[in-house]
Amino acid sequence: MKLIKKIVSGNEAIAIGAYKGNAKFASGYPGTPSSEILDYFKEYDGVQAQWASNEKAGYEAALGASFAGVRSFATMKHVGLNVAADPLMTSAYTGINAGCVIVCADDPGMHSSQNEQDNRYYAKFAKIPLIEPSDSFEAIGFMQYAFIVSERFDLPVLFRSTTRISHSLGIVQYDPRTLDNEKELKLDKNFRKYVMIPSNAIIKHKDLLEKLDKLKQFSNETPINIIEPGKSNVGIITNGISYNYAKEIMPDAHFFKVGFSYPMPIEKIKNFAKELNRVIVIEELEPYMEEELKVAGLKVEGKKYFPQDGEFNLDIVEEGLHKAGFIKKDKSSVVFEDIELPKRPPALCPGCPHRPIFDILHSHRNVYITGDIGCYTLGSLPPLSAMHTTICMGASLSVGIGASKVEKNEKVVSVIGDSTFFHTGIQSLVDAYVNKADMTMIILDNRVTAMTGGQPDPSSGTNLFNETFTPVNIAKLAKAIGIERVFEVDQYDYEATKKILDREIETPGLSVIVALRPCVLMPKKIKDTPLVVTDKCIGCKRCLRIACPSIDFKNNAAIIDESTCTGCEVCLKVCPVEGAIVIKEGKQI
């Protein structure tokens, strides 16, 4: 069999590894940096893959496939595992049937996240094996291995990536054939194993503790916990991406590279450390390994020299090794100093249908706007500045309910996208109705999970496999719950949208406004006739307040970049001067 050699991202490598590991079913919810895994996986012959409404539903579907005898996995970002924590904790008790892996991508540095929690603690919390690759090449092998470990110990396995592994590329070489399962499996009906009523769960918890003892021994034996002998008399214990930085800065040190990190390989590390003068632990985020080792009585150091927040890089690891006295810092070559420059924050795209909503909300003084997770979180930034909270998926509606119950002066308006609404918003819509909340809920239904790259959702009418269905209609859903004041708007009709928003904000009681204009990028970029600014422009800068990347200001007048303008006409609608912004004649794109 000819080996395939190519450059792949960590996420593609995880999909390759899953396929080679004979996984046949996958489910997940998109979230940076994990989103691309299912897109790669679904391309393989004979597999099934699907987006779930949220991570809990995604992981439960993977569990179901495992119980039915098929190797399966779920994908999610770090905060997604909070949502899936409920099935996670109890599935450690039931165990699995066919191999089952939770692929979870943490985001140190918060490239695109609301926190940088370290999910390694979830493995310890649930008492399940934890596997961490360092790059794409390892991801392929480790992913296959995860299924074997899962079946050997009858436990789900947590497979942890980070942004810098998922979104970095490296050369891989692999045999494209898949592994066979170790044994033939079919649907497993077993009351004592899968029905977690207390009488069964009490026994299964004891089982789990016994498995944990075996796992502790296994961690000392597994080949993915590797000692790389060096020349100096100091040792470095490290994992994941940190290994690469440390190895490049200090190639001569003795390395203990941890690939199987829960339970930690305590005995093997004790042997490693025995002959060495000093040993330090280099790990991003929390002192997870350091604590485990210290509890086991090892004299190691770690967070004394390295930050507990943010993402590592070569410079941070070099600085830490220098502070620890392991190396002399290379005082070399930094010859150029930082220059003070304007930051370039991300912005809503030209033509984005969220823009008019935030422009209208910005004009209201006495509103408290609870927001959510998606592109539209950018509505919180100046000059739109129309969002006062963002906590987690779905929180806009429920935070809004609580605020509306106690706040007497400001009207509560909550803003949520369609995918986020289906994720964990629906429940709060029911709550708002049942508890008679006095608030306006705006659901930005652009028919796609846009922020993470345009994955389909229940509002899209297509699924991950491109099968079509009648899209879930949010207005009808709200009415079916019993909510009376439900309205649909098209944001490109600025005046009509403003009229309804203004009216509902003034009207006491619960109302739901579904904003229906689709994402400007999906399924393909919508572009109409561009607009131009005429010499009637008085330089009032009103159009700059809508934060459109196509509009700039030069020589006391607005200027529109025709190459990026989509012709949505929102700037024209907000412009106070008749004829200052016009549709470009004779230019059809």
């Binding site: 490239h111 979104h167 590329l169 410079d315 370039r344 809503l348 592109c375 993470t452």
Partner: protein, 188 residues
């Protein structure tokens, strides 16, 4: 050979990811080890974008160390300056002579140009590559013209770049990209 690096910087939508994929592929074809890092997510919405392609006999880190980047391809001047700390006097910089406006901010273009003058690296090529691309009939191939310029300075045989373009660039626009690459090689 030591690990060297090509740092691509620009603005979301500039084609940084494709350009860096071509270079990474070229290094692999030349038999070298390669790692590449890129940032997705919020940067898709017009923010700063960067990608780093590191190559050598054995590469560990996918990202760069300050003051060690040998080659920079910048599609915009402010973004070039934002990453200046990664360069050193021996660096090779190819930068597109253009400024992309930033929402809600007025940019002092002359001060940006003043700062550009302080980038006194061994090789510094600043040029309006969009004009070159327009001349060739497609503004989207400016990056490939820049790659052509850079290819003469990177220690990898030209045939690997050409093969990489053939492997990475979709068939529909492959021809014009190969033409742009050739054109770039001709720029002094």
């Amino acid at each position: 050979m030591n690990i060297e690096s090509v740092l691509f910087v620009g603005v979301g939508g500039d084609g940084i990811i494709t350009a860096s994929n071509v270079v990474a592929e070229a290094f692999m074809l030349a038999g070298l080890d390669v790692k590449k890092s890129e940032i997705h997510g919020m940067s898709q919405r017009g923010g700063s974008v960067s990608a780093s392609v590191r190559f050598g006999e054995k590469v560990y880190s996918p990202t760069d160390k300050l003051g060690t980047v040998k080659f920079m391809l910048a599609t915009e001047k402010i973004e070039a300056l934002r990453w200046i700390k990664y360069l050193n006097r021996d660096s090779v910089v190819v930068v597109n002579d253009r400024i992309v406006p930033i929402i809600n901010q007025t940019i002092d273009e002359s001060s940006i140009d003043e700062s550009m003058k302080t980038v006194d690296t061994k090789v510094f090529i600043q040029r309006n590559f969009l004009d070159d691309a327009k001349k060739l009939g497609n503004i989207k191939i400016a990056n490939t013209v820049m790659l052509g310029v850079l290819s003469k300075l990177i220690p990898v045989e030209e045939k690997f770049f050409i093969k990489a373009i053939e492997n990475i660039v979709p068939e529909k626009i492959r021809g014009i990209n190969l033409k742009a690459f050739e054109y770039g090689k001709g720029i002094e």
